[in-house]
Amino acid sequence: MIKIWSMKKNEEAAAKKKPKTSAAQIRVQKDLTELDLPSTMVTHFPDPADLLNFTLTITPDEGMYKGGAFIFSFVINMNYPHEPPKVKCTQTIYHPNVDLEGNVCLNILREDWKPVLNLNSVMVGLQYLFLEPNADDPLNKDAAEELRRNREQFMYNVKHSMRGGYVKGVQYANVLA
């Protein structure tokens, strides 16, 4: 057997016995404790001992979604940050980039996720969707079509949906904060 021990350059390196916390856990601790969120975003941990499952509430203070409180669930698995967190909207909302099941079309949650991104980037990305809904990446096709065709009508639909109203036969959740 090769004598690996003699390859140790110094004792210093050997002292680096690390505690048994997974890289994913440490990374989540790092991401969460360094979150720098504006007052429009608040995290909630149903079980404060469980850092891997929590919700984020976004209450936009400008734009057409102002006045609403939008709740997203975050589920992080042990392969984080190799895999992105799984994020879903927990309410049925009228938004071109969110479908009726709560799936969100945000590039950094799927095809453009990289391990150098963090939870802060995802949260800021989500908030941006409420400030600038994007008709080019539709998940709710009706909403995207309306936004493109008639912005005034779209804004009316948003307000109406946020009160729990129907838009094109679909009832949306009352999200007024």
């Binding site: 048994k20 440490i26 979150l35 608040v42 001992a49």
Partner: protein, 451 residues
């Protein structure tokens, strides 16, 4: 000349190494050469005894690479081999996983592979474990001299890598287990200028030697992995162009919508059939051709085409390293070999460097001794004040609980009472504390002792 009968093997036979059984291998082991390490190579009986009677090697994975690895190890003279695999044999494995036969379909890979090797190579004991690597504890991994991985999962590799790095105990040289990692799933680190053509993954592979805490580890190279193909969800939802888009639509969007809480089980043929039917209907609607049952199966299980000869090259390279490390008969790979068979045959060997901010093998570790009466708040003050640490706003946890987090507000409030508590109530003597802070590259670990 007949040698004495050896110990009984697992399949109940006594064996004897017949004359010249290892004639060719012994050419390398009987005398030192210009490439042998004079400090650790002990020519003749000593090295042969170690290889054949003492060395215990663990093979993780008994699939495409694992079958090759097991056969190579057994034929090069390793006699105490253990193998772990959590899978059962599927009919689609039989074209390249040559230890399996049609009658074995449905049986555990580890068990069948072990039986086959023992039947075919007398005197070799292969001990199978049908289950997950995570089922086993440190004591189990401690018994081996070497570990070889033939895995297809990033998650499993990260786990075994972290486990072996953590096993290293500076008081005990035996605790350092070389890890040889083979891969052919085309996810090896790719240079930015190397353009990977689609569907060529099967021709690429890599073999690497990881000496935990000494060389770069698996986690060090994690952010250089090729990304698996992921389609934008809006493309899947609205503008499908490829058969894969239709399959993803069925499995990612339609399955949860229609089936609710029922998880998609990619090993359940009925589930795959459902996804296939739904995907096919969508493909017809959008006039897309190419949705087949096998493509559906491949996409939902994220199967990457496997080529038997690529497996053979990578497995052979891993086993050569295992042989060299076990015998010291030649210098081992330092430390990364990549094979790119897509443009004729290209290979490149280089030293992948250790990362200082690697969450597994990097980062600082400090042993600190504090009075038993110190509170968490006092410990935090010390961390902020100490010149050699200089961190701002540290957050602390142990492997089992959180001690104090600076943010988010809800957690800070919940943990604030801990500031008043004695560290010794929360952390045992010799226990570890993980410190993160924005000013640290990744984290700092503290080993706490009390005065």
């Amino acid at each position: 000349m007949a040698t004495a009968a050896g110990p009984p093997t697992a399949n109940g036979f006594h064996y004897a190494d017949w004359e010249d059984r290892y004639y060719h291998v012994d050419q390398v082991l009987d005398r030192p050469g210009p490439r042998t390490d004079p400090d650790s190579f002990m020519a003749g009986a000593a090295v042969k005894n170690f290889l054949r009677d003492k060395c215990k090697i663990l093979v993780i994975g008994a699939g495409g690479l694992g079958c090759e690895i097991l056969a190579n190890l057994a034929l090069s003279g390793f006699k105490d081999i253990h193998v772990i695999d959590m899978d059962t044999i599927d009919i689609s494995n039989l074209n390249r996983q040559f230890l399996f036969r049609p009658k074995d379909v449905g049986q555990p890979k580890a068990t069948i592979a072990a039986e086959y090797i023992m039947k075919r190579v007398p005197g070799v004991t292969v001990t199978p474990y049908y289950g997950k690597i995570q089922d086993k504890d440190d004591d189990y991994y401690m018994q081996f001299n070497l570990v070889i991985c033939g895995l297809d999962s990033v998650e499993a590799r990260r786990w075994i890598n972290a486990t072996l790095v953590n096993l290293v105990d500076r008081e005990n040289p035996e605790s350092l287990k070389p890890l040889i990692d083979g891969g052919t799933e085309g996810r090896d680190l790719s240079f930015r200028y190397h353009v990977a053509p689609h569907r060529s993954e099967g021709f690429k592979g890599q073999a690497r030697v990881i000496l935990p805490t000494i060389t770069s580890c698996y986690e060090c190279s994690l952010d250089m992995l090729n990304k698996p193909t992921v389609f934008p969800i809006c493309t899947i939802a609205n503008t499908p162009r490829l058969p894969e888009h239709c399959i993803e639509w069925a499995s990612v969007l339609e399955w949860p919508r229609v089936k609710g809480e029922t998880k998609l089980d990619t090993d359940d043929p009925d589930h795959i059939q459902w996804v296939y039917d739904v995907a096919l209907k969508r493909a017809e609607e959008f006039k897309i051709e190419g949705v087949t049952w096998s493509l559906t199966h491949g996409v939902v299980k994220n199967i990457i085409p496997a080529i038997a000869s690529t497996n053979a090259i990578i497995a052979a390279s891993c086993c050569n390293e295992a042989f060299k490390i076990a015998t010291s008969s030649a210098a081992c790979l330092n430390n990364y070999f990549m094979l790119i068979g897509t443009d004729s045959v290209y290979s490149y060997t280089f030293e992948h460097e250790k990362r200082d901010d690697c969450p597994v093998c990097g980062g600082e570790s400090l042993e600190i001794s504090i009075p038993e009466s110190w509170t968490v708040e006092r410990l935090i003050e010390m961390l902020v004040e100490r010149q050699d640490i200089q961190i701002k706003k540290p957050s602390l946890s142990t492997p089992t609980k959180h001690i104090y987090f600076q943010a988010p507000p809800q957690l800070e409030t919940a943990m604030r009472p801990n500031l008043e508590k004695k560290v010794s109530e929360l952390v045992p003597e010799g226990g570890d504390v993980i410190v993160t802070a924005s000013t640290l590259p990744f984290n700092l670990s503290l080993r706490i002792t009390y005065t």
